[in-house]
Amino acid sequence: MRALDRKLLRDLRRLWAQSLAIALVLGCGVMVLVLATATERSLTLTRDTYYDRARFAEVFATATRAPRSLLPEIARIPGVAQVEARVAMDVVLDMPGLARPAQARVLSLPEDGAPVLNRPTLRQGRMPTPGSTDDVAISENFGLANGLHPGDSFSAILNGQKRQLRVTGLMLSPEFIYLIGPGMLMPDDRHYGIIWMNEAPAAAAAGLTGAFDDVSLRLTRGASEPAVIAALDRLLAPYGGTGAHGRDRQVSDMFLRSEMDGLNAMALILPPIFLIVSAFLVNMVLSRLIGLERPIVGLLKAMGYSGREIAWHYLKLSIGIGVLGVLIGWIAGWWLGAGLTRLYTEFYRFPYLIYAPGSTSFAISGLMGMATVVLGALRAVRASARLHPAVAMSPPAPPLFRRGLLDRVAQMLRLRQTTMMILRSITRWPRRAAVTSLGVAAAISVLVACFFTFDSIAAVIDEAFTRTNRQNVTLQLTHDAPTSVIEAAAHLPGVMRVEGAYSLPVRLIHGPQSELTSVEARGADDMLTRVLDASGGAAPLPPEGIVLPESLAAKLDVRAGDSLRMALLVPPRETLEIRVSALMRQSLGETAHLSAPALFRLMRVAPQVNRLNLLVDTPALPALYAAVKDAPAIEGAQFWADIRQKFDETLNRNLTTSVTVYAILGILITVGVIYNAARIQLSERSYELASLRVLGFTRAEVGYVLVGELMLLTLLAIPPGLLGGYAFSALVAQGFTTDIVRIPLVISRRTYALAALIAVAAALAAALMVRRRLDRVSLATALKKRD
């Protein structure tokens, strides 16, 4: 090995702790990049493969009752490749061992074999026997969660009749990779599932013999989806079509996509901070090293080494750090990526999982990691190449201290000389002080943005569960009903208050923008469900006009006071002109709101309800559950306390892990910055500090000079760190906001405090680690050393 390379290895070994600290920060950036892109790629690949093999449809529509004779016409729509029609309905189940009623969506299977589109995959057992009326296949997780296996039976209310159904198989479907019941926030495998049954019994139960109410299409290559949707809507309109949509509105696909968007956002937002900080650290350490080795640089030049060779020598050192960091990041990213992908299978049901991190994410992250260290090194290395040999070998001029404003202030404050040393050192090397401080600020920002996710979730929960939905049960009715059912419902067990609501699908149109959504009509004096104004306070529903969630208004490009057109997708199927009376804050979903009298006036029908919100006395809930299980008019029910509990459970399960991971990210940056700054301080000022000891200062007093300066820089980092954290959180909120959930930008004081506290504690620990070395410095050697 060449002598110069040997020097390099020894330098690396001598600087191992500092190099490792930088490599870990760099590794974090690389790790997040690999983790996010590898997981995203694996999920995308798995999803696309699955969609393709299972022939997942591209356009979906429902109707109330469309004749099968319409199917050839649908197939003739230009761009349609395949059509699959079926019967679909929501039912309430009475599961053995479940107090609270479960719900399911019943889907019909063609009599002549497996569906051509959205083909389910059998996981256990077999498909229902053709011609059988009681055979059903159920979604795998529903079966597993309820202990239902092929051969078992359970009962369901199908169109008012309680029926005994026999399970023949457990299945997965591309339509329900993420299976979430209507109105739920989290998958609940025990209480929501899919039931596939033969077409004849399904159609009979739904009163749809010879007809269908659900249709899926696969398009030819290059077909225009909007054109097909429009044509399909025209065909289905007479039969109660409620608006066809593409995969963009398919619930399972939406959730999957939002997950991938989140991963992409993570890959974009988080790594740059780590990379930038490591670049600065490389610069800091290398500048110091080269400064220390000025005479050696001069000597090498005198010997005939060229500037390029010397630059390359120092560049190799930073490359060594880069290689280490990239390797750490790759390994951690690979490993965590596999874990995260596996974790996704807990929420996303694929029949198989392709973990294919792909070489691209490794190549890109590796390149970025190496570019980072090289860029960080460049300034220092270029200076080394330019050093003039004769100048390099003359000892550097002693640092120039100037008396300035600071000194006068300090004198007035009668600061001690050790404190003066701290202040002078900061003003003498402002660049280094700034890098140190900004590095810690970056760590605080990362911490704020990480802990902010908890705040935003808490805000969403607070909004969903305590501000807008104060009922504890919501019942969905199978059919629209007159308002007299509100009276009837009041007699259900334990019910203290009932409010009716009516929800209907609409298409909102403003200029070229058009959005499919639903409108919910409620009484003006409803107290259980409420809408929030833009600042988050409960607001009364205006007597006229439609209230839109801010996100939907943005998509439609309307403001309060503007008019838009609302196409009713249920009878009378008219398109109405309506004014936007207000915008509201809504994190979950994009439902629009309208006062009931205004809606029914517009629709020219008598007031009706299809949903009941109940406030129920908790002890009476079991009795209510039993009533709901047997009530044929109820197609579904949401029990808000259970939803909330499920939500909290899922969050809390990963809470400790998430908090730890987030804290580690912040701690790594802080330690990386402070440890390096402290080591540099120590090497630069060991002479000075040893002199203090010789003069009779105690270890603690000398340590104060070192630790005090770093802690001062850390404290100075808090305000910009918190500010950066706010900006960074805004980015995160934006990056993670999807059609499903809008992330509110609320940061709690606890988050700010925690972020600052962790950074200060980590900085103190790192500084004290280096201070211990100060004790070990022998005074004799320190005083002899020239650097």
């Binding site: 060449r2 002598a3 020097k7 010997m303 005939g304 500037g307 003039h388």
Partner: protein, 236 residues
């Protein structure tokens, strides 16, 4: 002297512009160094000795004037050519030994032999300065004199035609200084390396073929020494 001219400096000046007022370190120096000779440069502090030596060794370039090494004009060469010149022809020894602390004696010498055209083995070079037994010691484990001898070994290992030494004994006591000078003397005698040696110690002039006196950026005198003494015969 009868040998061929190795270095020729003609009307070399050097002005430093760094401070408030320009410093004229050399004010027109003309000088020739001949094959095989050992010259000693004497002069007061700040007189320009180091500046002159650095310019001869292409560590620095003159403000005006010409420097030639054999037939090659150094002035006007680009940085790459100057680097190559230093690499192939010149060895330096400095007052502060300038060893790389993380490399052993042998490795410090290898630093040079690895890039030289026709080097000795590092062991041979260290043997020559009497350090054959300390090959694997790090600089911190060597005394000042030993460190300086490693630096000399490093300078001669490439078999340079020229050895430029700036106060090589400046940081050493007289006894240690003698062993270092001994090494330089032998290299000059055995290998015929042109050696230029800056010193503040007038006694050392006794080992030189010629003594050049510098004052105020000019050469004020050149004395020939018909009978150079080996360093052991010098007392100071």
């Amino acid at each position: 002297m009868t040998g061929k001219v190795v270095f020729r400096a003609e009307e070399v000046t050097k002005t430093y512009q760094t401070g408030a007022a320009p410093v004229r370190a050399l004010r027109g120096v003309s000088l020739e160094l001949y094959e095989g000779e050992l010259v000693v440069l004497l002069g007061a502090s700040g007189s320009g000795k180091s500046t002159l030596l650095n310019i001869l060794g292409a560590l620095d370039s003159p403000t005006s004037g010409r420097v030639t090494f054999r037939e090659h004009e150094l002035t006007g060469m680009d940085d790459d050519a100057l680097t190559a010149f230093r690499r192939d022809h010149v060895g330096f020894v400095f007052q502060f030994y300038n060893l790389v602390p993380s490399l052993t004696a042998r490795e410090n010498v290898a630093l040079v032999t690895e890039i030289a055209r026709n080097p000795m083995r590092p062991e041979e070079a260290l043997d020559r300065v009497g350090l054959g037994a300390r090959l694997d010691h790090f600089p911190a484990e060597l005394s000042g004199g030993e460190q300086q001898r490693v630096a000399i070994a490093r300078a001669i290992a490439k078999r340079p035609e020229v050895l430029l030494c700036d106060e090589p004994t400046g940081a050493l006591d007289s006894q240690t200084g003698v062993t270092v000078l001994e090494a330089l003397y032998e290299v000059n005698r055995d290998l015929g390396t042109v050696t230029a040696l800056i010193t503040h110690n007038a006694a050392i002039r006794q080992m030189a073929h010629r003594v050049i006196r510098v004052a105020d950026g000019r050469i004020v005198a050149i004395e020939e020494n018909p009978a150079p003494l080996p360093p052991t015969g010098i007392v100071w």
